[in-house]
């Protein structure tokens, strides 16, 4: 029903999606979003820090909110922390539902909140220098759609 995890090491998103889909045999469809460290733009590495007393409880409450808003069979929220290299998966969300539109909305909702309303801090290494990343304006307006 609800699978929320904060991982310190690399994971395979496809495997997690497949296990999630198989775990919800009564759902007609599963929508997923996987965000990965982009190889473009000269990003050499990415580091995500978090604050343990807030981060996982916040992810858990977010998953509950998605379950309360749409008729879903289940949701999955998996977020990496620590050091990541290009190609590694940063975040994976999935929603299983009888009707696909509910699953699309829920996955979209989860991502908008993880991007700019979850307790993570992201920095990127470019040309050997670390730079803190803050949400784009579009991330804040994406989030505002759900208020």
């Amino acid at each position: 029903m609800k699978d929320v995890r904060l991982l310190e090491s690399a994971f395979a998103p496809g495997e997690a999606i497949e296990r999630f889909a198989q775990g919800h045999p009564d759902a007609g469809g599963v929508v997923s979003f996987a965000g990965q460290v982009r190889a473009a733009d000269g990003c050499e590495a990415l580091e995500l820090s978090h604050y343990a007393p807030l981060t996982l409880p916040g992810m858990d409450a977010l998953a509950d909110e998605a379950l309360a808003r749409w008729p879903l069979d289940g949701v999955m929220v998996v977020h990496r922390s620590g050091l990541m290299l290009p190609g590694e998966t940063i975040v994976l969300v999935a929603a299983a539902a009888r009707h696909r539109r509910d699953a699309f909305h829920a996955a979209d909702f989860l991502m908008d909140h993880l991007k700019s309303d979850a307790w993570f801090w992201k920095r990127e290494k470019r040309a050997g220098q670390w730079h803190w990343v803050e949400p784009r304006e579009a991330d804040y307006s994406d989030l505002a759609r759900w208020k």
């Binding site: 991502m111 801090w121 803190w132």
Partner: protein, 80 residues
């Protein structure tokens, strides 16, 4: 005794370390005095929030931390 200050994100860079101790009791004016200069200014910014022992403060100027408390200084987040 001591209050533990935990600096997240770019505040940890400004503080030079992710954790620092401060004397208890600690209120908002005391926190700014302990932090000083650039760090006090950054923490005063509207987008920076405080949590005491994992509970967010609705009004950070109402800070009242005692011995053994952990105060987290939380700049704007960025996940995904």
């Amino acid at each position: 005794m001591a209050v533990t200050l935990v600096f997240l994100g770019r505040l940890a860079d400004l503080a030079g370390a992710p954790v620092r101790e401060a004397d208890a009791p600690l209120d908002w004016a005391g926190l700014l005095a302990v932090l000083g200069g650039e760090l006090a200014e950054a923490v005063s910014g509207a987008k920076v929030r405080l949590a005491v022992n994992g509970a967010l403060l609705a009004d950070k100027t109402a800070l009242a931390a005692g011995d053994g408390d952990e105060v987290a200084l939380l700049p704007p987040v960025s996940g995904g």
